[in-house]
């Protein structure tokens, strides 16, 4: 038995889902979209699965979330729907309910936030509401875990009884006539398509292209329908879409007027207005936002980045040493020790080294998201982001990109528009990440001692500028069309639920480990193999004889026009794919010097201009393999991720080429 959980955004849907399922959840893939749909077994009952559908305000076929939710409801036909409402805002929440009830699926209404309703002194006649809607209405508080058992019991009952809801909308006048006439006309078509006739009629009037197509109407039917619709539009002096929306809201107004006995004083809204006086203040909004982001950065990449990541790597180093001496004592052959310790184990530790960052960052971000502040960020930043064809929602992933692309990619989940999300994903890796700092440091120290800070700053600015230009070009080509409608609710501020925050964080960490593991592991083993084995498949003493060195020697002429054709630089770039810091360590190995001596070695190899070109390429070319694995997971397409990486590397090549050539001309 499948139970669909449907509700508006910000109505506590995820919290309820967690209450209903406990912790055994799965995230499912829906073809063609990157919207995640979680499902899990109903707690304490066998054979019932709850599907947490994306939060939507309507069942129109426009956004991806709406498509997923409506397809599930219309096509997969769940045995029962739990429609969760924010009781403090019945007026708008009931709009989705109207549409759910039209589908005639067995439904239960879960009236959430009843604790707030009581605190506000609001009074709702639940029996009467149930009477109006023709379905069971269960008052609950998902956050306080109240009414959940009752909801589960009712849910099982409704599922087993398979009783259709007895919702009778009180539509009158011309719209009633139109629905009635059209539903008679399309009765057979609807039956063939497996849709209720009246529902089909409403969708036809609403001009729902998908449903109209599914009904396979004959030309003469279309003609008659057009007549009915024209009559309707004339009689109501409005258009067909408005007529249906008006009907629904008209119903809601009648219901609310009767069931809401007292509105009370909406305390959470008043509190929200007070908080927003500061957080979205004309002058303070921006500094506060920068302050909050700065704090998140400081905690994740500063405190945690320093101690937890360092601690983790010390731990992993120790474990690696232990493993090595164990293998040696077992008299395992050298190459196998190398493969296990430097290949496989190094891969595992590189996956784990991202963990502290991901856990802490998403703990903080989900708190920010859950309180409702993220919507304010979008509100504050929208005007700026719109200039590059995005909405305010994209600012947070881009800022996180300055720390690390991996969590930045993951944080794009909160962008509801698929187009905006993909565009953001492509821009993120141009934000210069933390791991590139050691490379910047060593090169600037060697070649630009006087202007070290300036050159570093230039790298960051260059990344941003190239990223913006890239976005502008993409917008004119691949991502044509306007950005998604930016019509967004600013929900009241709420205290985040601990369980939801933890589950969200756990989900991110688990998702990263599971999905990134194979890719990173294979990549680490491959890198180990390439750097330690020669073409004759024997172990090499000198990395210069390895397969990687051979490949580098072969492809390094490609980089000659950029001023750095030396094969060792090429090798370091390839090694940098495992992690950007590896560029420096690989160079040290290849020049057979310690990292402290590296500047001297490099100084003799390149001119400052060539070094700058190399630096530009390092800062712009494809991110590390962990980032690639994450991107692949987020877009759910290997081809797309590969193309994105190739394109980015190509851009890096062009930019370095242009700047190097320009530099040559100027210094001639």
């Amino acid at each position: 038995m499948n139970i669909a959980l449907i509700g508006n955004q910000n109505c506590g849907k995820t919290t309820l889902f967690n209450r209903l399922t406990g912790s055994r959840q799965k995230v499912g893939n829906f073809p063609g979209v990157t919207v995640d749909v979680a499902s899990g077994p109903l707690r304490g009952k066998k054979g019932f699965t709850i599907v947490d559908l994306p939060g939507v305000y309507s069942l129109s076929p426009y956004s991806n979330e709406e498509k997923v939710t409506r397809d599930y409801l219309f096509k997969s036909r769940p045995d029962c729907v739990i429609n969760i409402l924010d009781a403090t805002n019945l007026n708008r929440n009931l709009y989705l309910t109207m549409q759910v009830l039209e589908t005639q699926t067995p439904t239960i209404v879960a009236l959430n936030m009843m604790d707030d309703v009581k605190a506000n002194g609001m009074v709702i006649d639940i029996e009467k509401l149930s009477e109006y809607l023709g379905v069971v209405v269960v008052p609950i508080s998902a956050a306080k875990n109240q009414g959940i058992e009752e909801l589960i019991e009712h849910c099982v009952k409704v599922c087993l009884a398979k009783e259709k809801n007895t919702f009778k909308d009180r539509c009158e006048g011309p719209i009633h006539t139109a629905i009635h006439s059209i539903s008679h006309l399309v009765e057979t078509n609807a039956a063939k398509a497996g849709l209720p006739a009246k529902f089909s009629a409403i969708r036809i009037i609403e001009n729902d292209a998908e449903i109209i197509e599914e009904l396979r109407l004959a030309p003469n039917q279309v003609e008659i329908i057009n007549h009915f619709v024209e009559d309707l539009e004339k009689a109501l002096s409005t258009d067909r879409e408005s007529a249906v929306v008006d009907m629904r809201y008209g119903n809601i107004e009648v219901i609310c007027a009767d069931v809401i006995k007292k509105y009370g004083d909406n305390k959470s809204q008043r509190r929200t207005d007070k908080i927003d006086k500061i957080l979205t203040h004309k002058v303070f909004a921006l500094p506060i936002f920068i302050g909050i982001m700065g704090l998140i950065f400081y905690i994740t990449f500063g405190i945690v980045g320093k101690y937890a990541t360092d601690g983790m790597s010390i731990l992993m180093d120790m474990a690696g040493e232990g493993l090595k001496s164990l293998l040696v004592s077992l008299q395992v052959s050298d190459w196998l020790v190398g493969l296990v310790v430097d290949g496989i184990f190094a891969g595992i530790s590189s996956v784990l080294s991202f963990l502290p960052t991901i856990i802490v960052l998403f703990l903080l971000l989900s708190i920010v998201e859950d309180t409702g502040y993220m919507a304010r960020v979008a509100f504050i930043m929208d005007k700026l982001l719109r200039k590059i064809g995005l909405s305010g929602r994209s600012i947070v992933p881009m800022l996180i990109g300055f720390g690390c692309s991996v969590p930045a990619y993951m944080s794009t989940r909160t962008i509801s528009s698929e187009r905006d999300r993909k565009l953001t994903l492509l821009m993120v890796p141009f934000m210069s990440c933390n791991a590139k700092v050691p490379v910047y440091a060593i090169i600037t120290m060697t070649f630009f001692q006087k202007y070290q800070a300036l050159v570093m700053l230039f790298m960051y600015v260059l990344g941003i500028v190239v990223g913006i230009l890239y976005a502008l070009i993409l917008q004119k080509t691949k991502f044509k069309g306007s950005s998604a409608p930016f019509v967004m609710e600013l929900p009241p501020y709420r205290l985040p639920s601990g369980k939801t925050v933890i589950m969200y964080m756990w989900d991110k960490a688990k998702g990263f480990i599971v999905k990134a593991f194979t890719v990173i592991l294979i990549a680490s083993v491959a890198v180990w193999f390439l750097t330690n084995v020669s073409f004759t498949f024997s172990m090499v003493e000198d990395t210069g004889d390895s397969i990687l060195a051979m490949i580098s020697k072969w492809i390094s002429p490609i980089f000659a026009p950029l001023g750095f054709g030396d094969w060792r630089l090429t090798t370091s770039l390839i090694a940098g794919l495992s992690a950007k810091e590896a560029v420096v360590s690989t160079l040290a190995i290849l020049f057979n010097v310690t990292q402290a001596e590296l500047p001297a070695a490099l100084g003799g190899l390149m001119s400052p201009l060539q070094a700058l070109s190399f630096l530009i390429f390092v800062s712009l070319y494809m991110p590390c393999l962990a980032a690639f694995a994450t991107l692949r997971k987020e877009v759910k397409s290997t081809g797309y991720a590969v193309l994105a990486m190739a394109l980015q590397t190509f851009i890096a090549y062009i930019v370095a080429l242009v700047i190097y050539t320009f530099g040559l001309l100027v210094t001639l």
Partner: protein, 77 residues
């Protein structure tokens, strides 16, 4: 007049919603239907988008979209 011309704090009634396709449907779905009362609550720090109160909740939309919503101010009392 259109919604974007309201001053912060001003109340008005929607008379017509223009535009087309998904954008218009979205505005209607969110409860911005003719006859509905709205209040312009706030403007974003950079002047755009705007925050309005409609059907008891807070909604934000861009000025370019607000231009498609025609309103009549409550007659001065």
């Amino acid at each position: 007049m259109t919604l974007d011309a309201l001053q912060t704090g001003e109340k008005a009634k929607i008379t017509k919603v223009e535009g087309e396709g998904s954008m218009r449907k979205r505005l209607l779905d969110m409860g911005l239907t003719p006859g509905t009362n709205i209040t312009l609550f706030k403007k974003a720090p950079m002047g755009d988008p705007i925050e309005i109160v409609v059907r008891g909740y807070h909604l934000t939309l861009r000025i370019s979209d607000a231009r498609k919503i025609f309103v009549a101010k409550e007659s001065a009392k």
